[in-house]
Every structure is written in structure tokens, then in C-alpha cells.
């Protein structure tokens, strides 16, 4: 290639990147189209849009609201103090609302808006009584009710108190009123007390930082002023805020430390700030190239892709360091041609791994692989086409350092292939026997333990659920759906009677089917015969009362699902209603709370299996299963890529190929064996870390063999493992589990790569040759 051609290619690459910038700018004109939903990583036929919708509906309360429980000896005063300071957040526009006074939740009287429907709503017990023709037995209780000092009798509209009986069957909120405050009274429990309840409603996203800060400082200030008060928190906003604070904290400790470390090392080795800048250019160019092409190809980007893709581009730092080390030492004698074969091989081997991944049927992995591959190609092109043209003076210090370092790290003996094989087999056995995997979401929960404890206590005290377990019920139309729900409820009631300790919320308990409503109306008609006359007479009321009461029955409209969802009580159940499905039917959920575990789970699953149109969903388990599927798919395809690479490497290096593959594969085995011995289970995150280890290890192996006698290569390998260790390995100290596992893998893996490299370096045919090398 002529010099002019090379220059032309450099400019061409510049033009490509400029186009990328323009294209990216156009695509981002409305913000980054990012997915956060894990199932978006799955193939389309495996996604369940209805389950997603149910998850969103049920999760909304947990996302958009928060709940505080406040316990204190001087409860009224402290609650008022907290309530008022939270009210200022509402006034400032940070929160939408805060309810804590007794009347904040007082809905209009149900007797007002449920009135006309009451003759169509009967409890099963009353249905039975009336079907048995025992209507007369209801007269006595009705009389007592009419004369009770605390009842509000209405002899015309409801002489028998139908509505009260029906309402008392609806799920009751444990939140009551006392001392003018919303109160949860746990006095009937062993160490019970009166808790004040404060319910906040968010204006926007729970991830809104200014709102999080305002809420956090208000609560912190309150706790400082009232250290004796016990405050329990529940709601996504607190978890999100804890996560944000943790990320910020780690950014300023772990992040700052690793950045400082990388800067110090580069400055020390190259003695030039320019190298640092030149280090950044390929990484930035690679990211730009990857982001543009991936977005252009897929239309959307998953946040997980962005996070891991960006770290995988970190492998590109290898190319920069090898080139720069060579240039710093060789100075004017630098020839790209000499380095090019190993650079090309390094790129191809890494890209093969990602191309293999891109062939998987999982769009998530495909996206991640495409991002990483494009990023590496972009960074590589920048290194090869641009870096040699940036000025870099030869540094005698770097030269001396490389030679001294090279001599220092000469191993006394060589690792024989048979020993490597035995070691590998031993490690494989360790892994096979002891390595476990755990894809459960709990393992990855980043929330602090104290907050999780609060959350559990609040949910337990309030019988509140986050809607993580439910039945998804579908049918062709609303009436069929209500019938199905009713049948499911009957099964659940039977299971509960048999000892299953759960509770459930279902729309069928509130809205009977039309047929049943009609039957109920007929039953009430019977009740309004002789029993009503009896009641009126014994109460000493004029006979016209009975006539007026009967006239009401004819005016009773049917209660439709829409009617119900529009009432204040129905609004509380709106989350259970999913409406039209894409298939043209309708769907609703039945939310389960209470006992967890394998046994109750099996009962619920069997219940769902026995009925048509009913599906049991456990969100936590579902997401865990998704993560597990991603992990297994990655493992299989990485294994395939490794085999392919090994074949390619054998093609080039023949019997020396094992020297190239020992650093990447050996490091992978060491990581897995350490996990096996330490009992760290495998999950998607430490497995993605292995991809990074493999990439850097493979580059190290290739350069180690290609430039076996060059101190600059060993210096570059050292620098690249060290900087990657600082950038990714330090994440092992993160308190966020996902980052911790990624970091731990990199920490062990990259250290192993670096330690393995010298032992597998091709032997110098002649020991004296070393002198020559130094003066090459």
C-alpha cells in the first residue's frame, strides 16, 4: 500500500465518522430510544405483551407512590411535623400529593353511589339463605340494625341492609383513622403499636433526581429532629434513590481511584500527556461507530447493551497500547507493517466471538454482540489509520523501562504443554463438581438491607403486595371473563379452606356476571315479599314503607364492569383490569399475596393449569428465568466461538497454538474454578465479564507469540491488563451486585491472563540471544 493510499484511507475513515455523527444526531433528535425491559432482549415469539402489560399495571402503585409508616410515643405531633414538611414538597411541585390526615382518604359514602345496584349484589351466604326460602330469618337482624344507635337505617331504600352486608365482604384496607391521622393499628400483634400512615404520590418518574434529593433531605432532616421516631419506608422511589446515591458514591471513590490509577500509569510509562489523549481517540471513535450502526440496524437500544457493549469496547485499548509501546520504543524506526498481522489477528479473533453471538436467536445478545463488534472494528480502524500519523516522540525512558521489565519477568522455567493440560483438566473437574449458577433476582438486588427490611415490614404490616404474583385470566368478552374469574375464585376459596395461606384480589368479587345479577334481583324480590311486610310491621312503620321499598327494585340498573371501575371503590381495583387484548379478547389479573414457597406455588400453578384461559405468573421468578436463559445462551455461543477460534489459531500457529490459547482459556478456567471453590454462583453478569477476559487474554496470547522477543509487546500486555484491571476489576468493590460480579470476574481473570503470559512465551532457541534482543 502506498503512502498516498494510506492517507486517503485515513481521510475516508474521517468521512465515515463524520457521517456517523450526523446520522446519530438525526436518530437521537428525540432522545435515545432505549429499552429497559429485560424481555425486550428476548425473541419476539417468546415475549408476552399481555404479561408485560399486567406487570406494568400492577407495578404502577409501587412505582408512582410511596408509603411511610411512622411510630412514635408522641405520634400526633411528629406525624404532623412530617406531614407538613412533606406538604411543602407538594407545594414546591416535587410531589403530586401527600395524604396523612384522617379525611385525606375519606371517600364519599358508598351508600351514595352504590345505592341503585344494591339489589343485584348478594353475598353467597345470603344467596343460600334466600334460595333455601329462609328469608324470614333475615327479618330479626334487619330489625336490630334499624334500631341500633350507630347504624344509619334507610327503611325505604334498603330495609334489610343489603349494601352493608355486601360491602363488608370487600377487601378492607387495614388503614383506619385515629387521632385525626391515617392510622395502622397493630395493637393486636405481640409488639404492636399505632403507626401513622403517610401516602405520597409522585408527579413523574421515581428516578427523578431533584425529587429524590428533596424527599431524601426532608426525611433525613425529620429523623435528625426526631431520632426516637421509627420510620419505615416503602416504594420504588426509595430504592431508586438508594441506587442513585450508591452510584454517585462509587463514582467518586471506585471510579475516581481507577481513573487516577490509569492516568498515573500512562503518564509514568510514556512521560507524555499526548499518549493519554491518543488513548481516548480510538475508544471514542469506536463508541460512536458502534452506537450509530447498532441504532441504525436495530432501531432501538437496550440499556444493558449500552452498559456491557461500552465496557467490551474496552478491549480496544489493547490495540492502542501495543501500537504506542512499539512507537515509543522504536521511534522513527516504527513500521506499522510489522505489527499489522498480530493486530489483524487480535481483531479477527475477538470479532469472531461476537459474530458467533450475533448469530444467536436472542435479539438481546445479537444487539450486544453487534455493538461490541462494531465498536472494536471502529476503534481498530482508528488505531491503524490515524494513530501512526499523530506525533509521538520516541521515549528513551519507555525503552529502558520495557527492557528492565522484560528482564524482571523472565520466568526461570517454561510451562510444558502436558502440565498445562493436566492443570486445565484439574480445573475443569473442579468446575464440573462445584460450580453452581444462580439467576435469581434476589441475588442481584442492589437495595441496601435496611431498606429491604423496611419494605418487607411495611408490606407485611399492611398486607400490601407489589403485584409480583398473579393469575392472568383471558376470555372472549367481559361476561365470559367474569365467569372465568368467578370459577377461579371458587377454586382459590377451596384451596384457602384447605389451608393455603394466601389472600387474593379479584374483580369477580365485586362485579357478578349479568346472569348472577339477574338471579340476585329475583332473590331480593322474594325477600321483599312476606319478610318485608313482617319487618315493616314489627318496626312500627306505616305499610306504605313496604310499597315504596318494592318500587325501588324495578329501578335497579345492572352493574357493569365499567360502572364499577368508575366508582371510588372500583378505582382501587383498576390495576386488575387489562381491557382488550391484542387477540381481540379481554383480560384481567387476580393478584395473590401471602405465603410464598414451593408448596403454595405448586398449588397455584396447578390451579392455573386446570383451567382454560388462566395463567399463573410470578414476576420475580420470570425475570430470573429470563436472566438464566440469557446466561445459558451466552455460554453456549461463547463456547462455540472459542472452538472456532481455536481451529483458526491452529491453522496459523500449528503446534504453537496452545501458547496463544492458554492465557484466555486458562484465565477463564481459573475464574470459574475460583468461583467454584469460593461458592460464588455463576450469573449473566460474571459471564459477561468473562467475555472481556477472553478478549483481552486472546490479544495478549497473540502478541505474546507473534512478538515473543520484543520487550515492547510484554510492556503493552502488562499495561493493557493493568489498565483494564483498574477500569473493570475495581468494580469488584462495588456494592451493586451486577457490577460487583462483573468486576470480580475481571479482577481474577485479567490478573490470571497477565500471570499466564510469560510462562507460555515461545522459548528462545539460544539463551545468549537475549543480548541481541536488547540491542535490536
Amino acid at each position: 500500500m502506498t503512502r498516498a493510499n494510506y492517507h486517503r484511507l485515513g481521510w475516508l475513515w474521517f468521512a465515515v465518522l463524520t457521517l456517523c455523527t450526523l446520522w446519530l444526531g438525526w436518530m437521537l433528535r428525540q432522545g435515545l430510544p432505549a429499552d429497559t425491559d429485560l424481555t425486550a432482549l428476548l425473541p419476539a415469539d417468546r415475549q408476552a405483551p399481555l404479561v408485560e402489560r399486567a406487570d406494568r399495571e400492577l407495578g404502577r402503585g409501587f412505582e408512582n407512590r410511596f408509603l411511610l409508616l411512622l411510630g412514635d410515643d408522641d405520634r400526633v405531633a411528629t406525624t404532623q411535623a412530617l406531614g407538613k414538611s412533606l406538604q411543602t414538597l407538594v407545594d414546591e411541585g416535587q410531589l403530586a400529593a401527600i395524604d396523612w390526615r384522617e379525611l385525606d382518604l375519606a371517600d364519599a359514602d358508598p351508600h351514595g353511589w352504590m345505592g341503585p345496584w344494591r339489589y343485584r349484589l348478594l353475598t353467597p351466604q345470603w344467596q343460600q339463605t334466600l334460595d333455601d326460602g329462609d328469608g324470614r330469618t333475615l327479618v330479626e337482624p334487619a330489625l336490630r340494625r334499624l334500631f341500633s344507635p350507630t347504624a344509619r337505617p334507610d327503611p325505604v331504600a334498603d330495609p334489610f341492609g343489603l349494601l352493608d352486608v355486601w360491602l363488608s365482604r370487600l377487601p378492607q384496607s387495614p388503614i383506619g383513622a385515629a387521632d385525626g391521622l391515617l392510622t395502622l393499628d397493630t395493637g393486636d400483634q405481640p409488639d404492636g403499636r399505632q403507626w401513622s400512615v403517610l401516602i405520597g404520590e409522585l408527579k413523574g418518574s421515581p428516578y427523578d433526581l431533584p425529587m429524590q434529593n428533596a424527599l431524601h433531605s426532608t426525611l433525613a432532616q425529620f429523623q435528625q429532629q426526631h431520632p426516637e421516631a421509627e420510620l419505615l419506608r416503602s416504594g420504588l422511589v426509595f430504592h431508586a434513590a438508594a441506587g442513585a446515591r450508591q452510584a454517585k458514591h462509587e463514582m467518586s471513590t471506585i471510579g475516581a481511584a481507577s481513573l487516577l490509577g490509569v492516568l498515573l500509569i500512562i503518564a509514568f510509562v510514556f512521560r507524555s500527556p499526548r499518549v493519554l489523549l491518543q488513548l481516548m481517540v480510538p475508544l471514542l471513535a469506536g463508541s460512536l461507530f458502534a452506537l450509530t450502526l447498532t441504532l441504525g440496524l436495530f432501531g432501538r437500544l437496550h440499556l444493558l447493551t449500552l452498559a456491557f457493549g461500552a465496557s467490551l469496547i474496552g478491549i480496544a485499548i489493547d490495540y492502542v497500547l501495543h501500537l504506542q509501546c512499539d512507537r515509543a520504543i522504536a521511534g522513527r524506526g516504527f513500521r506499522l507493517r510489522r505489527l499489522l498481522p498480530s493486530l489483524v489477528l487480535g481483531l479477527i479473533s475477538s470479532v469472531i466471538a461476537y459474530v458467533a453471538q450475533a448469530l444467536t436467536p436472542m435479539p438481546g445478545l445479537r444487539q450486544m454482540a453487534a455493538f461490541a463488534a462494531f465498536g472494536l472494528i471502529g476503534a481498530w480502524l482508528t488505531v491503524v489509520l490515524w494513530l501512526p500519523r499523530f506525533t509521538l516522540h520516541a521515549s528513551p525512558f519507555t525503552d529502558r523501562l520495557a527492557t528492565r521489565w522484560w528482564r524482571l519477568c523472565q520466568p526461570r522455567w517454561q510451562l510444558p504443554p502436558w502440565l498445562a493440560l493436566i492443570g486445565a483438566i484439574a480445573l475443569v473437574i473442579v468446575c464440573a463438581v462445584r460450580l453452581t449458577s444462580d439467576d435469581s433476582l434476589e441475588l442481584l438486588n442492589p437495595s441496601p438491607a435496611a431498606l429491604m427490611q423496611d419494605e418487607q415490614r411495611v408490606q407485611q404490616l399492611l398486607d400490601r403486595d407489589t403485584g409480583s404474583r398473579y393469575f392472568l385470566v383471558q376470555a372472549e368478552n367481559t361476561q365470559a371473563l367474569l365467569a372465568r374469574l368467578d370459577a377461579l375464585d371458587a377454586e382459590l376459596d377451596r384451596a384457602i379452606a384447605d389451608g393455603l395461606q394466601i389472600e387474593y384480589q379479584s374483580l369477580a368479587g365485586s362485579v357478578p356476571t349479568m346472569a348472577e345479577q339477574q338471579a340476585n334481583l329475583a332473590r331480593v324480590g322474594k325477600l321483599y315479599g312476606a319478610p318485608l311486610d313482617d319487618l315493616v310491621q314489627r318496626a312500627g312503620l306505616p305499610a306504605e314503607v313496604a310499597r315504596k321499598a318494592r318500587a325501588q327494585l324495578g329501578k335497579s340498573p345492572p352493574l357493569t364492569l365499567d360502572d364499577w371501575l368508575g366508582t371510588p371503590l372500583g378505582k382501587l381495583q383498576q390495576r386488575l383490569w387489562l381491557g382488550r387484548t391484542p387477540e381481540g379478547g379481554v383480560a384481567a389479573t387476580v393478584v395473590i399475596s401471602g405465603a410464598r414457597g414451593a408448596a403454595p406455588d405448586k398449588v397455584l400453578r396447578d390451579l392455573a393449569g386446570a383451567q382454560a384461559g388462566v395463567e399463573y405468573v410470578d414476576r420475580v421468578e420470570r425475570i430470573g428465568a429470563l436472566l438464566g436463559e440469557l446466561r445459558r445462551h451466552t455460554a453456549v455461543w461463547v463456547l462455540a466461538a472459542m472452538t472456532l477460534m481455536t481451529l483458526a489459531l491452529i491453522g496459523r500457529y500449528r503446534r504453537h497454538a496452545w501458547r496463544v490459547i492458554v492465557p484466555p482459556f486458562g484465565a477463564t478456567l481459573i475464574v470459574l474454578a475460583s468461583f467454584a471453590l469460593a461458592g460464588v454462583p455463576l450469573n449473566i453478569f460474571n459471564q459477561l465479564g468473562l467475555l472481556l477476559v477472553l478478549g483481552i487474554g486472546l490479544d495478549a496470547g497473540i502478541f505474546n507469540v507473534e512478538h515473543a522477543r520484543k520487550p515492547s509487546a510484554w510492556l503493552a500486555i502488562t499495561l493493557s491488563t493493568l489498565t483494564s484491571l483498574l477500569a473493570f476489576g475495581m468494580l469488584a468493590f462495588s456494592a451493586t451486585p451486577a457490577l460487583h460480579y462483573l468486576g470480580l470476574t475481571c479482577l481474577i481473570g485479567l490478573a490470571s491472563v497477565w500471570m499466564l503470559v510469560p510462562w507460555v512465551r515461545p522459548v528462545d532457541p539460544n539463551r545468549t540471544q537475549r543480548q541481541e534482543i536488547e540491542h535490536e
Partner: protein, 185 residues
Amino acid sequence: MPLRRWLITLLVLVLVPISAQAFDLDDLQRQLAATPSVAGRFEQQRELADLDSSLTSTGTFVFERGKRVVWELKTPVQERIELTPQAITDGSGETAPPGGEQVAQLFLQLLEGDWQALESRFTLQLSGDQDAWQVALRPKEAALRERIAGITLQGDRTIDHLDMRTPDGDRLKVRLFDQHPLNGA
């Protein structure tokens, strides 16, 4: 000493009305608390505005301050209702429908003259003296005004009359009579 006598007269004149006026809600509460447990008879009359008739019942009651009220209907129907701050329980042991405990609480607070608790929801106005007093209660919040227009309590050593009016014109009148303190209850 005319001056001295005049001074005493003046003091008495000034002080007597003060002490008379000083019969406030705290005094009333103390006065009522002096009889911790009372038993007696009641007559309850519920006037229903849109019916032009009323539901009248009679019976006996036992009131244990701070603990419970037992309301025993004799006519026209037999029923024993027990009100505690937590719940209303009727003869069959069933608890009342939602919101029942709030009604029970209010009823207890009224019978006890627990002004501190009542003041969070009502404005209170006391008139009369310790031998014939009357307290008028008006709901503070609009939500409560939709249910209760006003309540009047009358009495002397004990509460003798309770009169609760709702916005739709219904009226609950309770007369407590033949009251006698219970000892060792």
C-alpha cells in the same frame, strides 16, 4: 371599714362571675369523669325525614368509661350491642360493616365527653353551668359535614340527652335516664 367592705364586695362581685364563667370543657370533663361507670335506661328515637314517622326503641345501657358501652335493646327487638374503641359487636358476635368502628368511636367519645378527641373533628361550644350544661358540636371538615349536620349534648352530673342531626333531615334523639353510678365495676 367601709373601704375594706367595699373592696371585698367588689372582689366577690368580680370573682364570682369569673368562677361561674370558668366552667369550661375541662371542668365538664372532670365532672363527668367523677362517675366512671354508669348504668341506666335509654329511649332512642330516630326521625326519618322522608317518611314522616320515627323508629323508637328503649332499653338499658351500661357505660364503663374508657372501655365500652353495652347497649341493650328491649323493645321492639332484643339486641345487645357492645361498643369499644376498636369495634362494634352485636349479639351474634359479628362486627359491623366498614366504617363501623369510626361510628363506635364517635359514640364513645360523645358519651365520655372526650373533648380533646372530638375537637380534632368538631368545633365545640359550651353553654350553661355545671348543673345544666349543653355542648354543641359542628363538624370542621366538609367530608364529615356531608354525614353530620350537628350534635348537641345536654346534661348535669351525667349526660342526659344526645341529639344528632344529618344533612338530609334525619335526626337521632337519645334520652338517658334513671342513671346510677356503678360501684366496683
